[in-house]
Amino acid sequence: MNSLNKIVEKFEDAKRNSVVDLKRKKENGKKIVGTFCAFTPKEIIIAADAIPVSLCGMKNEPISAAEQHLPRNLCPLIKSSYGHAITDTCPYFYFSDLLVGETTCDGKKKMYEYLNNIKEIHVMQLPQTLDRESSLSYWQEEMKLLAEKLEERFNVEITQEKLIDAIRLCNKERLVMQKLFGLGMNQPPLISGYNMLKVIQGIGYQELSDDYLTYLEELIDVLAVNNQKVDNAKRILITGCPLGADTEKVVRIVEQSGGAVVAYENCTGLKAKMELVKESSDPYHALAKKYLNIGCPCISPNKKRFKMIEELIYEYNIDGVIDVILQSCHPYSVETYGLKEFTLKECQTPYISVETDYSSSDLGQLMTRIGAFIEML
């Protein structure tokens, strides 16, 4: 086995070990907060001495159980998240003392109503536009409500000092992630998109600390040196719904068809990692500002996403954009038409949207669509 695979495996191990680590920490009295989305201000959870963890929702298996309560034509991410909860197959859900969700899309916020019957969920009311001044103050108020909830629930005090320290730590994490994603900027990229996805998934489950981030940075440096050069491959930007586990198939097919995924714009990728939180004396204001300015289609209009895609196309020298839509995800699906016009006309870059779900039944269709797209470039 080459050294690159060993390093990637280290990240995969990290994900496995995180369960044991969380269990130990919980037994020692640490509180754990389960989260779903890039809109969750992790800083407030960390400042409450709790550990934020991403909950499972990328696997097909629990979907049939979820369909006992939820409609079939609902996005697989929502069904999988709920299915994991009711079948008790997500260790992070099991360990969570509290869940935090946001009113992003309709499917999610309605699903949270049922989830609350299984485990308490605090739902933050997310404003749906940046075009109103009141959005920011409203969202800032929501930040404070979350803090109050955590203080009361965990019997802690979120001091200004703790909050500022958590902001510093999370900003540091964002910079480390930017460094990781930067490996794709190289020509040829220093890591395959598939391995990149493995690394991203390995990172999301660890408790953040300065030591851990230093360790991560060192690993990324080793990755950069032990690079696997992907020659002559067409440089692909992936945008759209979050990817992982059962949707890794998309990345695998791109890289088997002569493409290299060099950048992820989606929420598992750069979407929420580019902009830092301002380290100021008004932390709630700074948090509200950052966490409102995330280019998600549940925000309307969603200029931020288009702008970011345009920047990434130039920075990463992109040959083609693949917009991955999870079946029945209306916000992303509706946005495909506008985004296609934008990438073709404003960025002169070919674009394709592919719709998929968590099953393997569409592998043939995906191979033809993605294969033909890459042949076209």
């Binding site: 038409y337 070919p350 719709e355 039944s361 569409d362 043939g364 269709q365 191979m367 033809t368 669509r369 294969g371 033909a372 042949e375 076209m376």
Partner: protein
């Protein structure tokens, strides 16, 4: 040395053998194993050959030099059969697609139907089965000025709709015409999404039917071109792509 393009479709395997001058074209029903069908079709070709496979069965054929998707092959093939082609409507057994190409037959944009049988040859095949007609006789028995209204987009629901229509005494040719109408409308919604430039070339198994082509022309109000070998568009494209590689390698 010959270049061989193999288009392993869901209904038929099409073979195009190209020596740089002429095409030898062969077709066989795919059957249960595209792999076996292909090896039988290749049995009598002894010369050295360069094989390009395409179509949904392209992955199952072990003996190949290059695999290319049917989208790219259709672009190339349509450009050969009719150079002016800029938009291709391809309706095959299990999918339908709209492909836009430039003057060299290179794909600029394309769109395929969702993973369902609506608007495909399978849908029509199923209808013919219900009506106890042979799909090859389509042009003879569909001569209707009053197509039945088929509302269901899903092939499974459409089947029960057709059964109800039959029960209510609707004429066979009106039902068949209604199904063709619905396939055409379904395909036109794809065209609406991806856009089109003239001229328009119709390929795939269904392109052999005059009735379907007329229906497209009447709805789109445009001339739809085809070719007696339009069913071989993908195989011809594959053979041409293979031939180009052979020339480069020499």
């Amino acid at each position: 040395m010959n270049s061989i393009g193999i288009d392993a479709g869901s209904t038929a395997v099409k073979l195009a053998i190209y020596d740089g001058k002429e095409f030898d074209l062969r077709i066989r029903p795919t059957g249960w194993s595209p792999k076996e069908t292909v090896s039988k079709m290749l049995e009598d070709i002894e010369n050295e050959k360069y094989i390009v496979t395409t179509g949904y069965g392209r992955m199952s054929i072990a003996n190949y030099d290059k695999r290319v998707t049917e989208i790219t092959c259709h672009g190339k093939g349509a450009n050969y059969l009719r150079e002016q082609t800029r938009t291709i409507i391809d309706i095959g057994g299990q999918d339908s697609k709209i492909i836009r190409v430039n003057n060299k037959g290179q794909v600029i944009d394309f769109l395929m139907n969702d993973k369902c049988a609506a608007g495909t040859g399978k849908f029509l095949e199923m209808t013919c089965h219900l009506l106890e007609k042979d799909i090859r006789d389509l042009d003879e028995f569909v001569n209707s000025t009053n197509p039945a209204n088929i509302n269901a987009m899903c092939a499974v629901f459409a089947e029960s709709e057709i059964i109800s229509l039959l029960a209510s005494g609707e004429r066979l040719e009106d039902i068949a015409a209604g199904v063709i109408d619905s396939i055409v409308k379904r395909t036109l919604s794809l065209i609406g999404r991806v856009g089109f430039d003239e001229d328009i070339f119709f390929s795939g198994g269904l392109s052999r039917s005059k009735v379907i082509r007329k229906c497209f022309e009447n709805t789109l109000k445009k001339k739809i071109h085809t070719h007696k070998h339009s069913q071989f568009t993908g195989a011809i494209g594959a053979a041409l792509i293979g031939y180009e590689v052979m020339l480069k390698e020499d």
